[in-house]
């Protein structure tokens, strides 16, 4: 009955979305609303706000790309793990080749300084 389970998951996601939205909407409705200009300003603490998101360090982008690549690689290993017994020695060899490529990329990234944070 896997399809029923997934239907239930869909229902659950919708349920949580609606319930949490109602919760914060209720709190907003109940709350006192005595706004002033200062109250609606951003919290600055002496440091002026930035114009949207220009500040991002390129490092975060590299991390995001590395994450995407390694995540795909990690997910690719799951079908192997499930079939481990059936695939046997051959499977381990196949995966070793796969992992060698992953490692080459990882060593290259490290050698070129993509993993460094100063």
């Amino acid at each position: 009955m896997q399809n029923a389970e997934w239907l239930l998951l869909g229902i659950g996601w919708l349920f949580f979305l609606v319930v949490f939205f109602i919760l914060i909407a209720l709190a907003y409705y109940l709350a006192p609303k005595e706004y002033s200009k200062e109250k609606l300003d951003l919290y600055e603490c002496g440091v002026p706000f930035v114009d949207e998101a220009k500040e991002l360090n390129i490092k975060f982008f590299i991390i995001a790309v590395l994450f995407t690549l390694f995540d795909v690689e990690a997910i690719f290993m799951y079908p192997w793990a499930v079939n481990f017994k059936e695939l046997g020695v051959l499977g381990v060899i196949e995966l070793s080749i796969f992992i060698v490529f992953v490692f080459i990329g990882w060593i290259y990234a490290w050698a070129k300084g993509a993993l460094e944070w100063e």
Binding site: M1, Q2, E5, W6, L7, L8, L9, I11, G12, W13, L17, F20, L23, I24, L26, A27, Y28, A31, P32, K33, Y35, L40, D41, L42, Y43, C45, V47, F49, V50, D51, E52, A53, E55, L56, I63, A64, L66, F67, D71, A74, I75, M77, Y78, A81, V82, F84, K85, G88, V89, G91, V92, L95, S96, I99, V102, F103, W106, L115, W117, E118
Partner: protein
Amino acid sequence: MLIYVLTGAIKLLVVFVLLLLYALFMLWFERKALGFIQIRIGPKLVSSGLEGLLQPIADMLKTLWKEDIVPHRADKLVFWLAPVIGAMFPFAAAMAMPFGPPLKIGGSYFYLSVVHVNVGILYILAALGLTSYGVLSAGIASGGNKYSLISAQREVAQMVSYEVVMALALLNPILMAQSLDLYDIVAMQAHHLWFVFYQPVAFVVFLICMFATAAIVPFDLPEAEQELVAGFNTEYSAMKMGMFPFGQFVTILVMSSLMVIFFLGGWTGPIWNGHPWILGFIWYWIKVFFFVFLFIWSWGTFPRYRYDQLMNICWKILLPISVLNILWTGFALIIHIPMI
């Protein structure tokens, strides 16, 4: 099918209420335990006979009537959406989390989780991964508040980095059980030793990832008060702000149960062979709550890592170790080194 979905819907409501109660309990327990660690008393005045147990209910009611400020520079739509996303996905992940051993009624099993999907672990990882949009949205929607933005970037980069390592660490128990089903993985450990004895390295790696993905103290860079005020939810107030710790508490619970299921035998205990059902239930929750307590313990004990150290631990140490560990496990299973 209809009956199936209806029982599931009832289970969904029950789990939702239980998780809410758990989150309220955690609000109290966290403060009490931190108080104990720091030699303070903690909440005491509300319901003084019960050690302030009703404090979170008072807090919750107070939060409902707090002034709700949406800064005028904020991106209103995303600003409203972010807390919902941040709370919704941990709850969605908890839908696949077992709440106890399966009950045997007649010939069939009754599972104590809302859903019993055969790719359970990957589903939980997916749902927990989507939580990062709550944080990211909160940071971006805050209209250019530096603290929110920096904190959101940090937390998302941290969560995603450790997610990879977590997926790799969990692969080792899966290799031994050859199933993605959480119940199968526990069943496998009922016949053998717990996987922690075969996979100590994966256990330690997963333990570190647990703290890092939940952003708890040695790795709570996003909420580093001294430098980032309050982190990504600096601009949030009232119930919207309350949603984020809410989601975090549920994440902690889901992580703890994953830990127990994958490495510590789930509901099997040293002296349990499946029979009184309630004993398995108790074993399971003792173990899960030990890890929940471990989170708070570390919260009150450890200093914080620097961000570059955090990233180095993940990308330079944990990643190669867990990849090599997978190869080692595969190799060892082929030549029958561990007993399976």
